[in-house]
Point group: none
Chain length 222, copies 4
DNA sequence: TATGAATGAGATTTCATTCAT
DNA sequence: CATGAATGAAATCTCATTCAT
């Protein structure tokens, strides 16, 4: 009874996960640019053709990795933002969550950088390819817009125009940076230095968004 | 009188310029990633082999384009920074110069994005390949560090650590953004929107660097 | 029964063999120097890319052809050397085997000439590239050294120094000659003449190595 | 008066010599296979096009270098062969001259190896390209045939068939060896080892040609 | 479902040779 | 006489993707 169908489904899901996982590893190891289907297949101990049973093409793999990474970041960030925080506090929590997650597993975060590889136009361009970023990346966009709106309302953030637009701007900055980092193959990537660099960048942004006279302790990331 | 030698030299220089120009156009048209020697040759109405008479290899072409772009930006920026300006004013002038130059000729600026293609590790990584960026890109780095130092000294900028390091951080942000833009093929690139976006980004950075209580008029870019 | 796996393996082996075979033909037809991957592919009715499924690169193809040729010669030669023969007799058997094999299938022998293409420094130079010649060519070297040693011991060969070194010398002569022959495109290669020439050369060498007063019948090759 | 014509001719000859000289140097430095017109031109401080004013094509340059080398060897050899020597003595003088010349200037000799590059069929094949080797190489052939004939007549050499044919055989051996050596780029060429190797080879040949019971001192080269 | 095998389409680079000036 | 400039033709190798089994 039941079962057989479910098992198949589960197995299928496991394979997908395997592929995504190995692809992720490879990207982290050697950079997005030099990721090949061959490499993915080999490290999964599958044939290249099999990859196409689970994903329509290379892009689909990258997109899904990105989705996952973005999604897990959003979840993590949400979990770290106190309900009663003001906008600035929330933003601080967001970035600091980012840095934490990076500390724990560079992976999840660094991968966000694939965005520029898959759809460099998001969120600058018109539609992006097929509105690929409706889901996780979109949720991230919404989240940030919310925080900005909140902060403009409670006076903790500078009132600098449309929150939606500003959210896009913030994402652009963040993903651009991360993209830059992703292109450095892991062997030469210095986690310490990069984390420090990202913290500096995020602090600049934080100060750039905060209202005049904000509590200095909220402008520091750890 | 005389001049045959000179003419030859000039013509040679013109050919180089032609090649660089067409390559630039192609990059702007279709993105760095899909630039091929074949394409460059075709659009110059030359044979592939001829390109190698003027440049040692593809990298040399990209490097020179980048060099030129960076160099012309530095020159332009320098010309716009008033001698007696304080650090914040100077920085404002720098970014606003950037935006201006972009308005006049997207090209010069957008091309800076090639950096990430040629040496994605600069200035994060160790040495980059062969210290390619000793010249123009290095001058830019120095310029920004100078302005930051000046601003920290005269109190117009937040005293936030080592100017050299901060300059690197600023460059990372800027080039990352530009890189992102470069990857959008021109047909879908909306100059107006992008310019607006860049202005927003630079304003955030400017505010992020400025000292508390800075003159608000210095935090706006036009 | 069963055998699907085996069949696949066999087919794969056949393809490799096909490629090697056609490559061999082309070399014999037009000389090593003008062998191209394109040509090999075309004559196998395969695409260039396919060749790379079976061999890592062009060198690998050449190396394997050489390996095979050398190996089959060593085997053949060994089978023709009587167990109780003295050194001179053994050497005579070796060369005469060579000529025979040449008579049967120029291919096996002529191809030895590739050596000079792949590693012209062997056995003169230091290491050659990666000791490519550890296997068959090395075995040949050992075999000849053995025969020389045997002959010096039993008095059938002139005692003219280190057998190892002398063996290298002999190989140099042989491969050089063959190399010369390989470079003649087949249409103008006259098997009869060449065989005669090789016989003369080997006879000279044989006489050069034999002890004074050796049985004249052992100095003739047929 | 007069003179102008002569001077032109002399200058032309000097240019040819320059080109040949530099080409020679390059071959010795880096091996025949990697000699390019570009390299020759550059090292003559001439343009590639100019080379074509003095030589019809690359082959012509190589051919002439070979001619010269062969010719100078023949001359040198002739000068070293005592008039009243018997065949074996003469042959010994020939080879020992070879080794001497090699010792003095590897150049002249090593270059003989180009033969195989230019016309691998000589003297095996039918006509060779355009009977290129009518001159110096032909003279060498004649010289050796003469010595062999002399030796067979005076009993110092084994009477082993047609001297003309045997001379061809000897040349094949010699040039093959040299060809092998030429392909080793100079930096890895060890003059001492090679000279030793060549001496061994020539001694084997010498013994192979000598009549039974020949004076052992005539079978050694120095 | 899985895969081995195949491939089309390119990409970069090299080189002997020609020709207008 | 000399050459700068140009090029056609090749050569090696890579990669995402397809398809028969």
């Amino acid at each position: 009874m039941m079962g057989i169908e479910e098992r198949k489904l589960r197995e299928k899901e496991e394979r997908r996960a395997l592929i995504l996982g190995k692809a992720k590893e490879l990207i982290l190891e050697r950079g997005v640019d030099s990721l090949t289907m061959q490499d993915i297949a080999a490290s999964c101990e599958l044939s290249k053709a099999t990859l196409y049973l689970y994903f329509q093409n290379k892009d689909a793999i990258l997109t899904e990795i990105l989705e996952e990474a973005a999604s897990s970041f959003v979840d993590f960030a949400l979990s770290r933002i106190p309900v009663d925080s003001n906008g600035l506090q929330a933003l601080q929590a967001l970035w600091s969550g980012y840095l934490h997650l990076y500390g724990e597993s560079q992976d999840v975060i660094v991968l966000t950088g694939i965005k520029n590889y898959i759809d460099p136009e998001f969120p600058l361009g018109g539609e992006g390819k097929n509105g690929i970023f409706g889901t996780a990346m979109g949720k991230l966009l919404d989240l940030i817009a919310d925080l900005l709106r909140r902060g403009m309302a409670d006076g903790s953030l500078e009132n600098a125009g449309d929150p939606e637009k500003l959210a896009r701007t913030v994402i652009i900055i963040a993903t651009s940076i991360i993209d830059t980092v992703t292109r450095i193959p892991r062997p030469r990537r210095n986690a310490q230095i990069i984390r420090g660099e990202m913290r500096d960048i995020f602090e600049i942004i934080l100060r750039g968004l905060a209202a005049q006279g904000a509590d200095p302790s909220l402008l520091k990331l750890t």
